[in-house]
Amino acid sequence: MKILIVDDFSTMRRIIKNLLRDLGFSNTEEADDGNTALPMLKSGQYDFLVTDWNMPGMSGFDLLKAVRADENLKNLPVLMVTAEAKRDQIVAAAQAGVNGYVVKPFTAAVLKEKIEKIFERIQ
């Protein structure tokens, strides 16, 4: 299971990386915005994408739309972990095809629950 973590703050990437490792996912890589993440996703055989929304360059929302529009990536499970909490945004993310939405600040339990739910649905 190879996971890409996208967030512009290295501390948040590190927190998510640690939590994922505790959940048994130690094969993770990092990117700091959508522009860096997209080429990695296209060439890297990732199984799961965890992304922030608000980032300089390409936002996580645009990254989500780009992933869904790409023939090879359109089925990639995407979990959004973000401080964006407007109802309109959550609805927009759902309509764009997000698989899970975790609002910051979050707990390890919430992250675990959402990831497990996503994998349950896939299997």
Binding site: S10, T11, R14, I15, N18, W53, N54, M55, S59, G60, F61, D62, T82, A83, E84, A85, K86, R87, D88, Q89, I90, V91, A92, A94, Y101, V102, V103, K104, F106, V110
Partner: protein, 261 residues
Amino acid sequence: MSDSKHTQRGLDPEVTEKLQQQTSQLVESVNSGDFARAMTVINELSEVRDQSLYQEVGRLTRSLHEAIRNFQIDPRNAEQKEALSKMSDASDRLAYVVQMTGQAANRTMDLVEESMPVAHAIRDEALSLRDEWQRLRRREIEPAEFRELYARIDTFFGSLGKDSDDLYKNLSEILLAQDFQDLTGQVIQKVTALVKEVEENLLGLVVMASHVDQLTGTVHQIEEKEESADKGVGPQIKAAERDDVVSGQDGVDDLLSSLGF
């Protein structure tokens, strides 16, 4: 803003009086067919308007000057030159906050990542020893195995003391790494005070400008710029008081399940 008192009032009373007087003169002249007189009155009216406009522009200039002085960005004075721009200082201060919080977060995570394997190793060895201990209690252990277990328990007790010391040391360093809150808190409070001051001064300027607009009859068409939610708007403050924002993960889950997700 010391000037806001007189910038907020309407036209000068004498100007208002003069305008009223001239307007009735104009009406009288038109009604009585004295158009030459009417034209003169119109000219006089226009002069009053111009004069009060000049006065207002003068007042605006003075207030602007004072507002700039309040911002302390007047570079003529050596002392002020030194504190030339509180604004760029504020950016430096905020950059310092980002740096301090980043350092503290990384320091904390370093220590946590250092401690986790120690805790895991203690747990693993304790579980393994417990199994062996239970075998011993059930008398399932050979003398050679017992000697090995005896040595392991000895080592475990020895390392347990050192490992707990390490964990304790890391925990207290994590505690110390939180000292950024005090420093960044002070910096943020200073910047907040500056922002409030700037806001007050800007408000004074807006009031002055609107007064000039009122005199000149200028109407601005300002398009409402809506923040694009696509790019992301960042954390929501006072989420509990707003209807368009969820107040936590439960809110997100409820919203998504109401949509059938």
